[in-house]
Each structure stands twice: as C-alpha cells, then as structure tokens.
Symmetry: C2
Subunit: 245 residues, 2 copies
DNA sequence: GAGTGGTCTAGACCACGAG
DNA sequence: TCGTGGTCTAGACCACTCA
C-alpha cells in the first residue's frame, strides 16, 4: 500500500467532505477562510489549499477569488440524450439558454469536421445553458452558411425551439456521429462554465450528415462532469443480429 | 483578463510543452530532475512541480516516483464503439487483455444497476487492456451468476473471443444503455491505469437487457481521456422521422 | 481598506526505485 | 546508499471582492 500515513491533505479533504455531508457546512454557505481552516487543522496554507483543490475537482466546493470558498448546492444532474435525440432535450424547464450567433470562416479543425474548404463561411451558434446562476453546458454549433436559417435568432428562442431546430436542421438528415472524450477544460472554458480547471468535462463532437453525404452540422458540446452525463440507448431487433462488417 | 503576468507555472509548462514538441525532449526520455529544472527556470521546486502537474494532466509526462519524469510516447488513440458494437472492438491487434474472473455478491450500486436483490451472486470479470506496457482501459463486467458461462476463462481468451462474448452474452439481447460521464479517477483507478489522478477519464456504464426486460450484463468501463474516446453512430431512415414522444 | 484567495519561495524531511 | 519524486512548512507579496 502507498498510504501508510494518509497525508494530511487527504485527511482534511475527507473531513471537509464529511462536514459537508452531515450538513455542518450547508449548501451555498461560505466556508471559514483558508487561513482559519489552516489554523484549525494545524497545517500550512498550501496544504489546506491542496485539500480544497480536491473538493473543487469533485465539484463540492467553489472558490471565488477575493470572496471565499463556498459549498456548492447539489446540482441537478442533466442528461444529454445521444442518438438522434436533440441535444439538451432533458434539460429541466427552469433551464435558461443564452444564444449568440455569428458568422465566421472555417478554420483549424472545422474544415475537416464539416468537410468544407478552409475559410468557407460558417454560421456559429453559441449556446450556454444555465440553471439559476450555474452554467450547465456549453455548445458551439457550426453550420455551413448556405444551410443556416436565413433569420438569425435575434430574440432568444425557447429551449424547445432550439431543441427542435437542432434535432433536424435538415429534412434529409441521415446519420449522426457523436464522439465523446474526457479531458480537463481549458482556462477559457473553465471561466465560461464557472468551473475549476481541475473538474473534468465531457467533450462531445456531433456531426450530422444528410442523405447526400454532406455534413450539415457540427456541434462541439462541453458538459461539466459534475452535473451532466450522456446517455445512449440502442434497441436491437432480435431477428436482425448485428450484421458485422 | 486575468493573466496579466502569465504565471511562471504556465510559462514553464508552455516551454516544456514546446521543448517536447520540437523533440528537444524525446518520447520515452527522462526529463532532467525537478531540482535541475527548478534551477534552470529559477523557480522553487513546488512551482516547477506545479508546471509538471499540468503536463501530467495532459498525459504528456509521466512521473515515476523515485525515478524521474518521463516524456510519454505518443499514445495510439483507441475508440470505443457504442451502440451494439462490442466493447474494445477497435483495439489494435497488439492489444493485450488481462482478465480476472471472480464471483462476488451484489453490493452498493450493483443491485440497482442489474435489478437484482442485494447479495445475489454475480460473476465479475475484470479486463485490463494493455498496449505494450501502457494500460488503455479498465473494464468491470457484472453478470448474474446463473447467466454466466459455466466455464470460467482459466486461460486468457483472445480479445476477439472476449469481444464476441461481450457482444451477445445472451441471444435475446434487445437493449443496450450506455451512460457516459467525465471525472477524475480515484486513487485506485489511477494506480491501476498508471495515470495521474489529474488526468480525466471517461466513465461508461453499459447495461444490456434481454427481451424479457431482465438485465443480463452491466459493465463499468474506464477510458483514460488522453488515449481513448467513444464513438456512437446513428443512422436514420429518412421516411421514419423520430416519432417524438 | 479590510479580508479573501492566488502565487511563490527556500528550504525540510519522508518514501520510493535502482544499483 | 543515493538520487529521485512526494509532502509539507511558514512565511511573503499580489490580485480580487466587497463594503
């Protein structure tokens, strides 16, 4: 075994977790200052901060610079439904979605993703879903501009409208590929989602193709690991067993 | 902006990333000791270690206690195919799978997952897929014991055999649900996969149900974010548009 | 301005790996 | 045993938030 002495860091993290779980520190409350906690546990500030960092990575604690460490409210977990289901479909009704639409030129990995020439015009739609003050997801959706709806959503559409639009951007949609991986967010993503850079995120790339094989939409979704997951359901006909290629 | 002074930590991390990318430090090589690097960058050891931690989180560097920091060889990225496809189906041929089968009693979340009474007997199959010395995935598969194959795999079966078995543990398999989320690994998981606890992993829970609605298999897969992702492909018939509920 | 967290230092001592 | 990384200290100084 590695941990003969379970390291003060882990001991403190465990204790704080416990204190939170039994309600000694309540959701939304500010913890004692790091200096106070360090004194209480008789450790130095770096050690204490290291313990807090662990809790941050679990999404239990949110640090706000110059203000304090706060116990996170238990977050409603949202589920992204994969397959053909529209993104964000199970987002609760209280979810508020802010949208920003711009036109950009295809760059870096986008030409490959969308199978279009570099610099070709794309419509970028940026979605951020909030529940209360807490962002729950970040989505960047790219559509070749000639396929994009003529009327940009000047007003913020309802989540249902967005979902409907996303579900079938083109009538002839025939294939959806969704690639998922886990990573840590960039500084910028972390700032946007108001999460720690040490909280893992689910990165989902969704490419929709129409009947002609043309890519009609590419979406990059980012789901914080502490409040979102993705669900894929596959039904099989018993007779037609997977005809392996 | 937050970063007026881009923090020595990030500056060092950037420089090391660059040194690695231009081949100044080559794959598999040991970096200079932390003390040497700290002297070179004129920072203290904690600061330098913090920079290295960032590279670890990206999977660029592997620390080996008592030995040194090593540049990771570029890892072949493997893809888990979702839907009905068998797990590990795209693992390269050079992949070595170690398997351990035991019988356990259903506990904690397993009864719920498998929809069986607590303490009912389960067969647990543990898979670890290696490529060379590097673990690429960890899978824990649970099957109600009365459904498990009578002959335990005393010898290590080939990946193909495993894949075949996993693909259709029961003839009547009709639904597969796969739930994915991103998180940081536990200390134990990190040790098993020989990754840093700061490297995000993709956690996949796979539940297969047969025609009678009985859960015939539950699998917990863990895919390190730096070397694996999951891919789901959905094909739609153009005429039968998703009959929304 | 007072109090908070953010970063960093210059050491110390412990634990591990290889020879 | 020796050199490596792992943990920790007791401060210092900066940056941010709030009143």
């Amino acid at each position: 075994m590695i941990r003969s002495v379970p390291s003060r860091r882990d001991a403190i993290a465990d204790d704080l977790r416990h204190q939170i779980s039994i309600g000694h520190f309540k959701a939304g409350e500010r913890l004692p200052s790091e200096a106070q906690l360090a004194t209480h546990y008789t450790v130095s500030t770096p050690t204490l901060r290291s313990a807090l960092a662990a809790l941050q990575g679990e999404g239990l604690v949110e640090k706000i610079h110059g203000n304090g460490n706060f116990v996170r409210r238990p977050l409603r977990r949202i589920t992204y439904l994969g397959g053909v289901a529209e993104p964000s479909t199970t987002f609760s009704a209280s979810l508020r979605v802010t949208t920003r639409t711009t036109t950009i030129e295809a760059h870096s990995h986008l030409p490959t993703l969308l199978n279009v020439p570099p610099r070709s015009p794309l419509t970028e739609v940026l979605h951020i879903a909030h529940e209360g003050k807490t962002p729950h997801s970040l989505a960047r959706i790219y559509v070749p501009r000639d396929l994009a709806p003529a009327a940009p959503p000047a007003a913020v559409p309802s989540p249902e409208q967005i979902a409907a639009r996303l579900a079938n951007p083109r009538p002839l949609l025939t294939e959806v590929q969704e690639r998922l991986s886990a990573r840590l967010p960039t500084q910028e993503e972390a700032t946007t989602l108001r999460i720690s850079t040490s909280l893992a995120v689910l990165s989902l790339t969704r490419v929709a193709t129409d009947a002609t094989g043309r890519v009609v939409e590419a979406a990059l979704l980012l789901l914080p690991g502490d409040r979102a997951d993705a669900l894929f359901t596959t039904r099989l006909n018993v007779e037609e067993r997977t005809p392996k290629t």
